[in-house]
Symmetry: C2
Subunit: 150 residues, 2 copies
């Protein structure tokens, strides 16, 4: 199956497809940028398949409603995978060096996640980017990524 | 599209489908456990769709061969998404609290990734798990995850 067929299945299944667009900006300390994406059922299912994480907290409403979460939640690492996209949108060829995230609150299927980034350190072509992932202005994950730009 | 249809597409497209199995062990400091998965073309394509990260370093051989990587590489966060699965295999309901990873070497499409974990700290029902992701015994990513088990 080629990429365009997968893209079509993804869109038909309710996936919030995003064209990959580079930001036009000078990459330096103080630069703020964001990426927004809705995490839907199809994303949780595909993340489960590719990671192998079929933990019932993400897949079984019956199971999940008996836990403290009170219902199914999105995989934490699916939420923070959006950070990979946010930093890749910077000009140049972006290589991920390091990440550190804290998961603060559950993300529900159907939530629109905003990934807000700010470059806070620069050393030659290496940058530290602070990150907050928010749903309805509430932080659901936060941390930072270190990247290299070629 | 329901999960079984997606699973079928995933398998037909060369995906290394893994049944989700719980480890049978006492969760305590010193416990070592592993998860193995081959990362194939379909995984890179689906990770690109769900994260939105369509950085050409992962998708265009022509582009990637001109970079220092000399060819396409797997998204770093796709490799470490396997850690989500490894810790979820522990007995109980596993909730991810925190992660920290360093990306050490490129992972190529088709590489078999071994995620080797060891519980190194315990405080009530919270655990710190050290993680090394390896390809052919070479570390490609390393770090740790903090989890809560209900």
């Amino acid at each position: 199956m080629d990429f365009s067929e997968l893209e079509s299945i993804y869109k038909k299944s309710g996936g919030d497809f995003k064209e990959f667009k580079k930001i036009s900006a000078t990459v330096d300390v103080g630069l703020k940028f964001s990426f927004l994406k809705k995490i839907n059922e199809i994303d949780v299912q595909l993340f489960g398949l590719i990671s192998g994480d079929l933990n019932p907290i993400h897949f079984s409403e019956e199971f999940a409603k008996k836990t403290k979460f009170g219902g199914r939640v999105v995989h934490g690492m699916l939420t923070t995978s959006l950070v990979s996209t946010a930093v890749a949108m910077l000009p140049g060829t972006v290589v991920l060096l390091e990440t550190s995230f804290r998961y603060l609150a559950p993300v529900r299927i159907g939530d629109l996640v905003a990934v807000d980034c700010e470059i806070v350190e620069k050393e030659k072509n290496r940058y530290k980017v602070n990150v907050v992932c928010k749903v309805n202005d509430k932080a659901v994950a936060e941390g930072w990524a270190k990247i290299l730009i070629w």
